[in-house]
Amino acid sequence: MFVRNKKGEILVENIVFILLNVIYLSILILFLLKQGSGAVLLEDSYSKNIALLIDSARPGMVMELNLQELKDVSDKNAISFSDVVKISGNYVTIKLSSKGGTSYHFFNNINATAYPDKTNPGIYVFTFKKT
């Protein structure tokens, strides 16, 4: 009777210990994943990268960008994918949450338009014309 109780105690302790470790590791992994896909971080990096693309563009060019990463976050935050990228007055604005978005200025004097590709979800089309 004594031996049986002892064995059971050890098993429960081990299970609790393993469970706590699993919970701990899960929290750490979730924290890391959340940090990498934060709306503010993505808004900042994508607005700058798209501004650099626009700066390098020439009239007549058409660019297709895979913005699936942005679509995942905007869907989660109930923002329409067609409102994610806006280009106005030499500013490119990325909006992934209801807080207003992040803008970055570009110097290229070009008429740039951006719209989501209807046939390919997650793809944005950028067209460039002379002003």
């Binding site: 750490l28 924290f31 890391l32 940090q35 990498g36 200025h105 110097f107 004097n109």
Partner: protein
Amino acid sequence: MIRKLENKKGDKLLSVYWFAILVIVAVGIVLMVNTFYGKDYDVRKDEATILAQKAADCIYPSGKLNPEAFSSQSGFREDFRDKFLDKCSMNFSIKDTLQRPPYYIEVGFFSEGNLDKQEFLISHGNKNWKGDCENSASDRTKLATCVSKEFYAKGDSDTYYLVKILSIVGKVEENTN
């Protein structure tokens, strides 16, 4: 019995150390992640390089100086200098604000025969940023980013010019913490 109690005490002591190790590892990971993601994404060097490249493409588009900028009869043209931003499809102004532009571009032409004498100069944008390029501070994050490029350009059949381009991008707040 005494040995049993000692073992249990040892186990408890071990679990306290284990818990402490877990906390230290977690705090370490959080600090490392915050250091990595907390840093701003600075693209000013790439932006300044694109600006310099765009100016170079405009001045020297196809192995010959742009005829709008230089003609063998009249030399460098003043009207090109005045309308440089328009002619080269650049727009430095920030709409609806009185802010000074966060850019500066300077293009100097030096005759091959006398590299000390500047023949012609084009400059546009916010000249105040130029002081940052000469600043020798070790931490340059709060200063404007400067990029210099130079190349030789063929003027007419006999003359060659050394073209020096200096492009500067301010945007300190957008690119640093």
